[in-house]
């Protein structure tokens, strides 16, 4: 069966290789806050509005970008044998993870105030993709006895 809008299976392999690399880099960055010298860039002059938020280095941006990219590659690429049941499970998992995501955003809106909210909001797409992947793979391989509904 043809599945539209999905990346080829090789993209999943690439994502599975990249994910642990960027996950380890993120943990190391959170612990040591290191910066890669060749990712340095020239910041705007002191006193400008954006200067407050710039650290003049793209290390953390590259790590977060790589992590998001690897999650996207895993989440939105075909299975080795993608059939109509896996597509149905994919759709249901997306549906459930959307509900969870919105609930989480609602809790964040109510529970986190100020600049912390903006910083924690960065996590939303990551959590969404991770929740989707967990639900999808549990249903696909670990819970074959759970009924799959098609609309």
């Amino acid at each position: 069966m043809k599945s539209a809008y999905l990346l080829p299976f090789k993209a999943k392999i690439a994502g599975l290789v990249l994910l642990p690399v960027f996950a380890v880099l993120l943990v190391l960055w959170l612990k040591f806050e290191f910066s890669i010298p060749w990712l340095q860039y020239k910041t705007l002059p002191e006193g400008s509005l954006t200067h407050l938020f710039e650290d003049g280095n793209l290390t953390n941006e590259c790590i977060l970008g790589g992590l998001l990219l690897s999650l996207i590659l895993i989440a939105f690429s075909r299975e080795k044998l993608e059939d109509e049941r896996s597509l149905a499970i994919r759709l249901q998992s997306l549906h459930i993870s959307h509900y969870i995501n919105y609930l989480m955003v609602l809790l964040w809106i109510l529970g986190i105030q100020g600049l912390s909210f903006a910083l924690s909001a960065i996590m939303i797409p990551y959590v969404f993709l991770m929740v989707f992947l967990i639900i999808y793979y549990i249903r696909l391989y670990l819970l074959p006895s759970v009924a799959v509904f098609r609309s």
Partner: protein, 73 residues
Amino acid sequence: MLYSDRNMKNRIKIERAILDITQAELAVRLGVSRQTVNAMEAGKYVPSTVLALKLAAVFKKPVEELFALESGD
């Protein structure tokens, strides 16, 4: 409308036993995963019309002989 295992029964397991083929062999013939064949046999997944017609072709039986609505549907 949602379709579930609760309102459809099938004879896939019986027909597969008659042909004496494994779930994996049937999956290859249908172009689906073994888990999908298992889920269909267990009534946990109701296949699409295309897949139902493929099953009918493999078993050389009409679709309505392979699938039936349960009483009350």
